[in-house]
Symmetry: C2
Subunit: 355 residues, 2 copies
Amino acid sequence: MTTELKNDTIIRALLREPVDRTPVWIMRQAGRYLPEYLKTRAEAGSFMNLCQTPELACEVTLQPLRRYQLDAAIVFSDILTIPDVMGMGLYFEEGQGPKFAKPITSSADIHKLPRPDVAESLAYVMDAVSMVRRELDGTVPLIGFSGSPWTLFTYMIEGGSSKTFAKSKKLIYQEPALAHMLLEKLADTVTDYLNMQIESGAQIVQIFDTWGGVLSDQAFRDFSLRYLDRIVSGLKRENEGRRVPVILFAKACNTQLEALAGTGCDGLGVDWTISLREARERVGQQVALQGNMDPAILLAEPEIIHREVGNTLSSFGHGEGHIFNLGHGITPDVKPEHLSTLIDSVRELSPAYHS
Amino acid sequence: MTTELKNDTIIRALLREPVDRTPVWIMRQAGRYLPEYLKTRAEAGSFMNLCQTPELACEVTLQPLRRYQLDAAIVFSDILTIPDVMGMGLYFEEGQGPKFAKPITSSADIHKLPRPDVAESLAYVMDAVSMVRRELDGTVPLIGFSGSPWTLFTYMIEGGSSKTFAKSKKLIYQEPALAHMLLEKLADTVTDYLNMQIESGAQIVQIFDTWGGVLSDQAFRDFSLRYLDRIVSGLKRENEGRRVPVILFAKACNTQLEALAGTGCDGLGVDWTISLREARERVGQQVALQGNMDPAILLAEPEIIHREVGNTLSSFGHGEGHIFNLGHGITPDVKPEHLSTLIDSVRELSPAYHS
């Protein structure tokens, strides 16, 4: 398993070590904007079958790396695998958000949720990780990931996606002890899950707190940050003789950057609503920053994309600690050649920012 | 028209003048959580008829003031009245977002949009404002409002609500000159509209930039802030021998607070994702702050609401310049008596913060 890593640019950037150019990967780089993804997705029948069949998950993970000069792969999976194996029965209906066969309808349902044995129940994810690592053969590192406890909590309590998060918020305000019990269970499960992914071959891990931004400042600290902190402290940070960097991406949580940096993570994902310049001023040399171009810019023509890549690089400025990415996932309506423009532009323009 | 104002607490708070207690009003205080609103809404037939019939708009504006000790009324209307009278034909279908009979489908459609004569085409809003002022008889001030140019732009370009704002963003990146032409027209129309409301009797005005938070830092400055600035500079700031304070509420734009304060407005609406303590540290004595309790707290029991009102007041701290409000509109699922608890709690707990 300890193959040599031919391109470790992203790992070095995450550790704020010198690099020749800014590394780049794209959230949802394996996704619906790619015709080859849609083909595999159709062959898989259901989205869950795509996630649960290691050969298919491996295939879609590798597809964007065949097209683009990306500096990392990210294992293809869904953030809701954990609630699924806690017994909620995750499923998707065409064109709709996630659903659960056994939604939570009472406090008793929450009490009954087990802490799952992820090595067993999520063996398909570990198999996909091992398979991708083998196929990558050291070309670029593999990123493992999980949803954050708070983000998983919202889907579990709302029974799917939500606009107002009314049930989740009512629960944290009205029954904080019960909410903490579930969040603690989720945090420990996420820790197990990420450690298993690291042991299976993930060389970087990212935690997505997609819905941290719906909380008040104080509620974020109490119900999301506390558990991110717990996970970061519990992760295996060295494997195969190499540091395993941890990236936290808490979308729409720009008021929390200093607090997130304080967890001991290596990198912070940043969305496009704050300039990298300001984010860097605020977190200093504590962590690397990943981001932050608005995905919608990929809908514009190539010359605009090229210019905005330049603006993003210039906003971070000279020096180490930048991983180029979008500020959120690439959307299905993007033309694949527009992503080529982005990646080529990062390769062309970024060396000037490194000495 | 120049009746004496018996309760000017909110105006004094907006001007950072001494008050005995923190004034309070609630965004969407005239709304679906109130049974009397639902009754009038049903009698009106359509939502547009409710907005366009001054007697009905006046009635629902006054309903929350009969129940609660609020420190302001806000005229009942919709933020999309301007696109409607620009010829787009606004309508609502039950349980759905806004729609336009004549959506924008080409650049030519944008070029053809007129700058409407709001005195004529939105006379029904001015009539409602005059009528509410008469009915209020100086008990509390009346707030007039408008959507911001950027927020109106998104609805017009998307043809309604949106999750990704892909069309609006593609337009600003791909055809910035065309976008600026429309935004300029909207800014001048909003200025006319608010000045007409002031002349008709509005004693405070608020501009809602509901969707500024979907833009990048730079795009916000170029395509939203610039036009907020233009409007604030063009408003009639004195009427009936009294200052007319201007409040800007740019939701999810907490990285922009300093820039928003720099427009010359009197107050800034703040959502719940930043603490009032931090917001106040950042804007200093430049503007008053309005907010910022999470509306979801009103779903919890009265003792929780009481505690969180206390936390919100304490977060702003001692001294002048706080207007209590939620961080966004009250939601239809709130029990009316829970809002009583909020307002009673502000009245009970806030005098301790004023000397």
